[in-house]
Amino acid sequence: MLIPPLSLPGLAISGLAQASTPVITNNTSGIVSGKALPPKTTLLSSVRTASNTHALAQFDIATQALSTVPLPSRAHEVITNPVTQEIVVFARRPGTWFMVLEQTEADLESEPNRVYESKLQHHFYGHGRFTPEGRYLITTEQHIPSGEGRIVIRDRERNYQVDAVFPSYGIGPHQLALLSDQDTIVIANGGIRTHPDSGREKLNLATMRPSLAYISRTSGKLLEQHFLPQSLHQLSIRHLDVNAQDQVIFGMQNQGNPLLLVPLVGSHRLGQNIELFNAEESSLQAMKQYCGSVCFDTSGQYVAITSPKGNLVTLWDAQSRQLLHQFRCPDACGIYQLDKANFMLSSGRGDLYQLNIIDQSLSKFWSAVSDISSDDLAWDNHLHIA
């Protein structure tokens, strides 16, 4: 194995493809309706508090006011209903609850927050999406007795009763997204079997077979499914994002030999083959075999990916498949588009960062230690901005 010259992970990597400065267009793709939404003002995330409890944090970007609501246990993703703006918080796997909160209320206490159980002998994987008209909630779940992945559709208008249950066509479905036809669901089947009796222990690493599956949300029919080459079968496909052109970018976590440098990012479009993104050996090494969150920018051309184990965030051109830049960002995992030019990042150390795509710079936006009362707050894995 060649030993590359020293390149400290925190320093700008001069050998990277120096793509020209990204051009940010006025394309507001990503918003399916095409209507301009009001500017995003609220940052939402699960947090660990100083007293080691878990809470939903709401952070007002303009005033920097922070409020928290206690949660039954550790949560994972937070999403908002695109129409009603209600907040939904999902339990972290193998949790069995999700909570619905009214974002519009000034006082979160005034209406009891609604907690729903998974039922059906299922547990959640911590991710979900609303359909664009805001009526149906789609989640990734495990049918515990069989260990199989399920996609469950619940009807908000009927108090989140289960409307349909479909196979995810794999084990360990994690994040999902809806394509622009508003019917096709793309699912990251991570491939890893766990059982609540043994917590988060991975039970099938030797035989795991992650995949990207596309199903119809109305019929549940499998439309397409794509697997990685057998030599990469221990690369768990976990998180993904999709742009307005239905390009899916996914981030992976390697469960195989930690000494083998493998691609950690890939792209897919319906009807085509999976394309894996390559990068300099030193960059792959710095990502530490692990992607935490994946997020397109508003134009759908650029993708930012966090690698918390490497204290790293990478910025990629989704079209040319080039790594544009990498930044040291301690313990950062949550990432979300803020506006046309910026992503917001959240860190387990309590900090929020802004990643500017145009000048490819990272700057600290807010720090929990700047206020004694929010001290020791840790932003959990995923971030949402509404």
Binding site: Q253, Y290, D331
Partner: protein
């Protein structure tokens, strides 16, 4: 459900550390429930630079020097393959491996480049990569692999101390070296490669990392600020204690005495499993001594006494080689006790460091 509203008074993160410190101290006064004084940026900077100069650099220097002597000893053994030179080589193996065990906890910076950490010590070796690859090389006897270019392409598992250990700690080592010239040349090549890596680590820490610690807020620097640099150092104090407990003790011990597997111990061939843990603990204690003045008083006494206990438990009670004692009730009980001490030490250190406002990692340790 109760609601907790925290309103943030700072409109932005102040660029001036002094004014930030003032705001924090005013808030401290107004919220008197939390009165612990956290170290200032200046105090962290002093801790960082002192740790760099009195802990990290001297230890990498020692590793470089000892590895150099190991390389020389292996050359000598190959020139004159005698019992005396083999003993000398084994002595230098121990000395250089001592030096490595005393800085093994540093897992960031130059050690990450080119997988140097794995390349110095591929362990735990769950699939016996070292054994299989080394055996293949010994059978092929291909002189070509001894060239710098070919050697560089070999897997990292055969380039470190565990491969040397296998070659040296073999009842027939001397006659095998005498009979097989290639075997000694391979030993020597690996030893020289270790020396080169150790030298590079020391040089890069002096030339690349030291300036990062001296000026942690520089543009495009490795660290964000003094606290970020201190966090990197504190991780190398707290996290290895858990790793020692998990990998060096609990994994070989298994769930019960009957399930203990001595071959899962680190360095069982050279009978230095306990010695490694003792060196690790001594080194971590030295790192802790530099931090002590910044820690809240409440935790210091407990940490001090846990370090003393851990050192006693590695040094005196485990004098029989761990590979022999692990399968005896007494030895197993002693190891269990050490596991418990290390676990308490880890919890106590993590909590004390947490009180200083240092987050060792949340997403980096527990993602999904």
């Amino acid at each position: 459900m109760p609601k907790h509203t925290l309103s943030i008074k700072c409109s932005s993160v102040s660029s001036s550390k002094f004014s930030l410190a003032m705001i924090i101290s005013v808030l401290c006064l107004s919220l008197s429930h939390k009165t612990l004084a956290k170290p200032t940026f200046e105090q962290w900077q002093q801790f960082n630079v002192t740790t760099l100069n009195t802990y990290i650099l001297p230890r990498y220097k020692s590793l470089a020097e000892e590895s150099n002597l190991l390389a020389e000893a292996s050359s000598k053994l190959c020139r004159e393959t005698s019992a005396e030179n083999l003993i000398l080589n084994i002595q230098h193996f121990h000395r250089s491996f001592d030096a490595w065990q005393s800085i093994q906890n540093i897992n960031f910076g130059p050690i990450e480049t080119g997988m140097r950490g794995f390349s110095l010590q591929f362990w735990p070796d769950k699939k016996n990569h070292v054994g299989k690859r080394l055996q293949a090389l010994l059978e092929q006897k291909n002189q070509q692999v001894l060239s710098d270019e070919s050697f560089a392409k070999l897997p990292v598992s055969v380039k470190g101390f565990p491969a040397i250990e296998r070659l040296l700690f073999n009842d027939e080592a001397l006659s095998l070296f005498q009979d097989q010239n290639f075997r000694c040349q391979l030993l020597s090549k690996i030893s020289h490669d270790i020396a080169l890596k150790a030298q590079a680590l020391h040089t890069e820490w002096q030339e690349d990392m030291a300036p990062q610690f001296q000026n942690p807020t520089q543009v495009d620097g490795y660290f964000e600020d003094e606290i970020d640099a201190a966090t990197s150092l504190l991780k190398t104090l707290v996290e290895p204690i858990e790793v020692i407990g998990d990998l060096k003790l609990k994994r070989p011990m298994g769930s019960t005495l009957g399930k203990a597997k001595y071959k899962r111990l680190e360095s069982w061939r050279s009978a230095r499993s306990a010695r490694n843990i003792r060196l690790n603990t001594e080194s971590l204690n030295a790192l802790y001594q530099g931090l002590k003045s910044l820690l809240p008083h409440s935790g210091i006494e407990a940490i001090d006494s846990l370090f003393v206990q851990a050192l006693q438990q590695t040094g005196t009670r485990l004098n029989t080689p761990m590979k022999d004692s692990i399968n005896t009730p007494k030895g197993y009980a002693n190891m269990t006790q050490l596991v418990q001490t290390l676990s308490r030490l880890h919890a106590q250190l993590e909590s004390s460091v947490g009180k200083l406002g240092i987050h060792l990692g949340f997403n980096s340790r527990d993602g999904d």
